[in-house]
Every structure is written in C-alpha cells, then in structure tokens.
C-alpha cells in the first residue's frame, strides 16, 4: 500500500491508481463514474453481484446515493440497486475525468 501510494503521483500504472483512489461504494458520489475492484464477502454474495454484471474491472455510474437506503447505479445497460449494508463491502476506484 505504502509503496504504491508513494508513486501515485505519476498516475501512469494501473496499480498506483488502484491503491490511491480505492474506496467503498457507500462513499461513492452521485453522477461520478467508477471502476469495480472487488468485494469483501462470501462466495454467495460475490457470485450474485458479479453475475448481475458488476464484476471486477467493469465501469459504472452512480445514479443515486443519498447516504441512506440503497445505492442505485448504472452498469453495462442496466440499473442495479444495492442495499446500504452491502455497499460498505464493495471496493471501487474513481475513474479519471473523461478527456
């Protein structure tokens, strides 16, 4: 972690960005786009989320995150709702602003 952080400024390698920008879905901001990193939890939860199209590496956009209740996001061509309790276990990375 530390090592990656120290080189984060160069902004080139994927590993550096991953470590410096990683956060949990619960903290994601409305209207921003993120990349799925992975999730902490059992196989059951993992397979469910991944099979619904939110698998590591996929990009998605936050449609609603009001701080309470489920988070709504747009991934691939569909919208998913994820319960508040689950969002604290889903690791994501903020995408660089387009352009």
């Amino acid at each position: 972690m530390r090592f990656w952080n120290s080189t984060a400024k160069s902004g080139g390698g994927s590993k550096t960005t991953r470590a410096s920008n990683s956060l949990y879905l619960s903290n994601a901001r409305e209207g921003e786009t993120y990349t799925m990193l992975g999730l902490e939890g059992g196989h059951r939860f993992k397979e469910k989320v991944y099979s619904m199209g939110l698998n590591p590496g996929v990009k998605f956009k936050i449609l609603q995150n009001s701080g309470r209740g489920p988070v709504e996001l747009q991934v691939r061509q569909t919208k998913l709702a994820i319960g508040r309790g689950m969002t604290a276990r889903i690791k994501i990375r903020k995408n660089d602003a387009p352009g």
């Binding site: 397979e47 609603q64 709504e72 709702a81 689950m86």
Partner: protein
C-alpha cells in the same frame, strides 16, 4: 416416425427481465400449465403445442443470472437441464444488455447441451445504437442465433424453425467453451481422472463440469461427490487445486473463473457488435428520477399503493355482491330441492356457506393480482422495493417484504400468495409469519361490532388502535424471529431495476388468471373439506331435549296468527326468536360448544366466557364468521356487525366490560389466520412444521398479549 410421435422437450433459460415469459406466452398461448418444481415453491410453467411434425413441450425455467448453487432457482434450472435433458435449450438474451446476459450463456454452454440463442428485444438494441452481427456472433459462440422481439411477437417462427433444424440437422459448430487457461485445465483433468474412477456416482453430470464446479467449491456438487467412492481423495485434490490456483492468480479461483467468463464475452462482443451511439438519457431515467427520488419516492409509492388498494376493494364490491347473491340463491334452491334435515343443513350451511365464504373473495383476489401483475410487468415493483428498503431494513426485512404485508391488510390469502416475490426463503418465511398481524379485512366486522357496542362515540379511534397494535406486534416479531428461529442477517439486497416497459394485455390476464385459478382450486378441495368438518363440529351431537318446547311454541304462534290475534310481523319476530334460541341451545350442546366450554379455563384469565370461546373457534372457518356465531350464541337470530340487538345485548351484558371487549378484539387480531389462509400457507411453504409453528405461535402470542392487557387493565382498575 409418424407425425405427432416426435415429442420434443424445449427449455427456456435466461436472465430475469429478458422477456422470457413473453416468449413463452407467445409460443404456448393459453395451453399452459402452472405448477411447482418438485418440493419447492418455485413456479414451473409448462406448455404444449404442435409445430410441423412435432409435439413440443416447452418448459419455462426460473429466470437466473447464473447457474451457481447459491439460489434455489439456479439449482432448479441447472438440475432440470442436467437431469431432464431437454432436446434443445433456448437461451433468451436481452440484446440491449448482451454482455451481462451472455454470462449465463457461458455457463449453460458448459453443461454440453444443444443451445439456441434468442437475441430478444433486438429492436431496442438497434434503437439504442447497438449493431450486432448475428452470423458472426453465432460463429464465435458456436450456437445458432435468432433475433426476436418478444413483445411484438416477432421471430417466433424463426425460433421454432431453428429448433427443428437443430434437432434434424444439428449445428456445424460446438458451443464455444470459455478458456480458463492451462493451469485450470491441468487441475480439471486431474480431478476428472479421479471422478471417472466411479462413473456410477456422477449422476449424469459431465465429469469435467463437476471438476470445474469442485474448483469453484460449489456446495451442491460437493454434496454429490460426498457419495463417491473416492470422495476423500477428490476433496483433498480439489482443495489442493484451489490452493494452487489461488497462489498462482492471487485471487479466489471462483473469482478468476468469473473474470475469464466475462473476458470471453467481451472478446466475442467487441468483435461481433458495434456501438454507434452513446447511451442517452432515456424515458426510464426520467420516470425513475421521480419514482425513486430520495424524498418524492416514498409519497409516490404511498399514492400508488393506495390506488391498488382502492381499486382492489372498491371495484370488487359489485362483483362480490353478485357472487353473494348467487350463493344465497344457490342455497335457496338447495333448500327447496333437498328435504329439511341433516343433508339440507350440510349442503346449505356447511358446503355452500363455507365454500361460498371463500369464493366471495375471488373478485378482490383477481383485481389484486391484476394490479400486482401490472406493477411487476411495468417494472415498478423493483422500485417499490428500492423505496421501502430503507424503512424495512431497520425492521430486519428488505424492501420486497413490504408488498405482501400491505396486501395482508386486505386479505391474508393473497398476501401469502404474494410473498412469492421474495426470493430468499428465510425472508419469505419471516414475512409470512408476521403477515397475520396485518389485520385483514374480514376481521374488521368483528371490530365494528364490538367497538361499536362498547365505544359508540369513538369506535373509529379504538379500531385504529387495534390496527396499530398489529403493526407493532409484527415489527417486534420480525426482530424476535430473526434472533431465535431464523438467525442471521437478511439476505443481501441486490436487485436489478429493469427498464420500464408497457405490459401486454395478454400477459397481464394470463398472470391474473393463473393465480386466481389456484385460489379457486383450493376453495374446491381443502376448504371444502374443512368447511364440512366445521359444520360437523357446530352441528353434532344434536340436542333432543330443549329447555323449552320450541316446536309447540312456534305452532302456538302460528295458530295465534291464524285467528288474527297477532300481526304477520309479530308472528315472524316471535318465530325467528324461538328458532335462534333453539340454534343457540344447539350450538352450546354441539362439539364446538363443548370445546368452547372445555377451553373456558384457558380463557378465564383473559376474562372470556365459553360463548366468546365458541366465537373464537368459529373464527377458524373465516374471521367474519365470529360475528354470525355471536349472533347464534346470543340467540338474536341473523346478526351482522351493525345489528342493534346484538350490540345492545353485548353492551348490556353484566359479564362484559370495556376491558374484556378490548381484550377480545386484540385476541381476534392476533390469533391464527383462518383456514383459507392456512391452506394457502401450506401450499406456499410446503412445510407442516412451519404451518404448526404459524398456528401455535400466533395463537399463543394472542393469548399472552390478551392476558397482559386484561390483567394489566385490572391492576389499573379499568375493568369497571
């Protein structure tokens, strides 16, 4: 082979919301049968039709995102494919969301069955700017691809042609398999070798598929392999494989497998599809902005639910009157053609009365299920769950549980049936165990009668407090059940919010009809049986020696009328009085009456006497029967909730106080649901254990809460 000898079985697989059901309806029309998969409450739809020389049986598999062993639907879908070996699997893929949908396809391919890909909603995909090269995609995936538009009934013939073609001529390619890489292949072949040593135990599963599933640590496959003669070696090997792959890839093998599948898919899609436009803000986004808005979402939901209720119960009124009228006339006819006596009473009071009381709800049920179908098919149901999740989560359930609970205020029967929308079994059971406390419409007449008698000035407020007690008890019980019988968290709430769609009239009505027919069938079987038992309990043994000689008293009255001593009205009033006193004595003498007296010691601490005991027992047939039973017990003839004579009898009875009245309505609120609801409960849960639990705990709770109210009230000196 002669025509019609060629029976083939075709299974429809696909994601939820991929339009699977629409295609199923298009292909089978009304020739469908809805049942359950063996041993579970997952709906199994089956339809038969002829096409060319073939007799086709079409099975609609449960909609799933994956074929892992993590949900009952997934296990069912995959076991059906493996054990029933359908001749062809049609995999319905939502073309506008092709990548996610193909994830399931990669897993179906691994089962090694003939597949046809139906690229459904291909028009929507095109409109959103997604161009798909069908031929190329077919080559890449190794399966025939047919574009369809289910809701416009397009591509159905082509789909069937493809099925026939696949059966008669096969396909030039094999379904393409995801390449998991050399290391995986090595581990798979090692495991396959071990498994092949005892091929008896593989139960029709492909060995390399089993090996892959062992690496994924699939619970169902682990169970299967534990019966294998080499089980120990296989499990050891699988654990080593997982360990090795984990250290190689730095991640769980199951996650790597998911990655590889998506990798394969995006490879195929990037070659066979082109996106010509950016995703635009569409109409669904606009509607969603309103309907799941953090502030506006809840009031919008409340308005929609109020509408559902209003429509269900107000539009239902007229047809219900019509049914009541028909039942009365049927009973009238039966009384004319069947001579007075036991048989007459059995047919009129027992069968027509009992089954009639249940059929009366049919219009409500049909309307309610029409409304639910509308909410489901448009896509709103998922939004309702979204909006309610915040509140329901605090209680310990998630959003979807709210819908059956709300329906419970109307009638517990459709509420139990409606709990099907909750996928998770534990959540569903907990919801069904507290639905009873959502005071149903049939209990209302009881409250109106009792509260009207004892609180003529503010009956409304008192009735409202009863409803509120029900809601509080439900919330408390969810928490209690979560920490006692159903330990653990509520299932993870992850749900797709499908795009809003215009439902087809055909699918709405098919949906409504299926559910209503199930309800009717129930009325014809189990409820008929229970009605006869209830009639028997309330009729036998027959009393021979009444306290008065009512027959001669009636004769005397009639004689007095003959010689014009009394008017017609007076005569009728007197005769009705005698008859109901007879009925009252009879009921007291019957098994139900004795039961009422037998349980009196139990009811004494609550302040109830045997008459209230009989009323409670009769409530088992249907809650509103409590009112008519009280009419019989008090010998006031035909009684309904507004009956003045019954009200004044109750209010003036020195044995009863306001405290007892309140204790009684709370008991009626909480005690076990009526037989119709219980019959549906057993059908939905398929568990006698849960049924017994439901019956006993609700009634015990009713007793306990009633005891607290009564004894607490006495301590506070409220029993005056």
């Amino acid at each position: 082979m002669t025509p019609r000898d060629k029976n083939i079985v075709v299974a429809l697989a696909g994601n939820p919301n991929s339009g699977k059901t629409t295609i199923f309806n298009n292909l089978t029309g009304a020739n469908q049968h809805v049942g359950n998969f063996p041993g579970v409450t997952v709906e199994k739809k089956e339809g038969r039709f002829n096409y060319r020389d073939y007799r086709i049986t079409l099975i609609d598999l449960p909609g799933t995102y994956s074929l892992s062993a993590y949900s009952i639907e997934e296990i069912i879908a995959r076991n059906f494919i493996i054990h029933e070996k359908p001749d062809v699997i049609i995999d319905i893929v939502d073309a506008s969301n092709i990548e996610r949908n193909l994830y399931l396809t990669t897993q179906i391919s691994e089962l090694g069955m003939p597949i046809i890909l139906a690229l459904n909603m291909s028009d929507m995909a095109k409109n959103s700017g997604l161009m798909i090269d069908y031929n190329y995609l077919s080559k890449l995936l190794g399966v025939p691809v047919v574009p369809t538009v289910g809701n416009k009934n397009k591509g159905m013939k082509e789909l069937l042609e493809a099925v026939i073609d696949l059966i008669e001529n096969g396909f030039e390619l094999e379904p393409a398999a995801v390449k998991y890489g050399k290391e995986f292949e090595k581990e798979i072949s090692r495991l396959t070798e071990l498994i092949a040593k005892d091929s008896q135990k593989t139960n029709g599963y492909k060995e390399d598929w089993l090996s892959l599933k062992l690496i994924e640590n699939d619970s169902e496959v682990n169970k299967l392999i534990s019966g294998h003669s080499q089980a120990d070696d296989i499990f050891k090997r699988a654990a080593r494989s997982r360990q090795r792959l984990k250290s190689l890839y730095g991640d769980e093998p199951s996650t790597v497998i998911t990655d590889k599948r998506y990798g394969f898919i995006s490879g195929a899609c990037s070659e066979a599809t082109t996106m010509t436009a950016e995703r635009r803000h569409d109409i669904s986004d606009t509607i969603d902005y309103l309907l799941i808005h953090p502030v506006l979402g809840l009031p919008m939901f409340a308005i929609l639910m109020w509408l559902v209720f209003h429509v269900t119960f107000s539009l239902g009124e007229k047809p219900i009157e019509l049914i009541e009228w028909s039942i009365e006339h049927l009973a009238g006819l039966a009384s004319i053609y069947i001579p007075d006596g036991m048989i007459n009473s059995l047919v009129v009071d027992g069968i027509i009365g009992g089954v009639g009381a249940v059929i009366v709800f049919l219009p409500n049920i049909m309307l309610l299920f029409l409304a639910i179908a509308l909410l489901e098919d448009t896509g709103y149901m998922a939004r309702a769950a979204f909006v309610m999740d915040r509140i329901m989560h605090k209680i310990g359930l998630h959003g979807k549980s709210f819908i059956p609970m709300l329906i419970g205020f109307g009638c517990t029967v459709p509420a139990f049936m409606g709990s099907r929308i909750i996928e998770d079994k534990t959540d569903r059971l907990i919801t069904m165990h507290v639905t009873n406390f959502m005071s149903c419409g049939a209990r209302l007449p009881v409250y109106i009668l009792i509260c009207g008698a004892f609180w003529p000035q503010n009956a409304g407020t008192v009735v409202f407090s009863v409803y509120a007690i029900g809601v509080v008890v439900a919330i408390v019980m969810v928490k209690v059940l979560r920490i006692t019988r159903f330990k653990g968290m509520s299932s993870p709430f992850v749900m797709e919010l499908p795009p809003y769609r215009m439902p087809t009239v055909k699918s709405l009505f098919l949906h409504m009809w299926e559910r209503s027919w199930m309800y009717l069938r129930k009325a014809g079987t189990i409820i008929l049986g229970i009605s006869i038992i209830m009639w028997f309990l309330m009729t036998f043994p027959q009393k021979r020696n009444y306290s008065h000689d009512y027959q001669s008293m009636i004769a005397k009255t009639q004689a007095a009328f003959q010689v014009s001593q009394i008017t017609d009205d007076e005569k009728n009033e007197q005769i009705t009085g005698y008859r109901s006193q007879m009925a009252s004595e009879n009921l007291e003498y019957s098994l139900a009456g004795r039961l009422g007296k037998d349980i009196e010691p139990l009811l004494k601490p609550l302040g109830f006497d045997w008459r209230l005991g009989i009323a409670i027992i009769s409530g088992f047939a249907a809650k509103e029967v409590v009112v008519s039973t009280m009419g019989t017990v008090y010998g006031v003839g035909e009684a309904d909730e507004t009956s003045e004579s019954l009200r004044s009898r109750l209010a003036n009875d020195p044995k009863y106080s306001k405290l007892i009245a309140y204790t009684f309505v709370v008991f009626i609120l909480l005690c076990m649901p009526c037989m119709a609801a219980l019959a549906v409960f057993i059908r939905e849960t398929r568990s006698w254990k849960e049924l017994l639990f439901q019956m006993s705990y609700t009634t015990a709770l009713a007793w306990f809460v009633a005891l607290m109210i009564h004894q607490g009230g006495k301590l506070l000196g409220l029993d005056g």
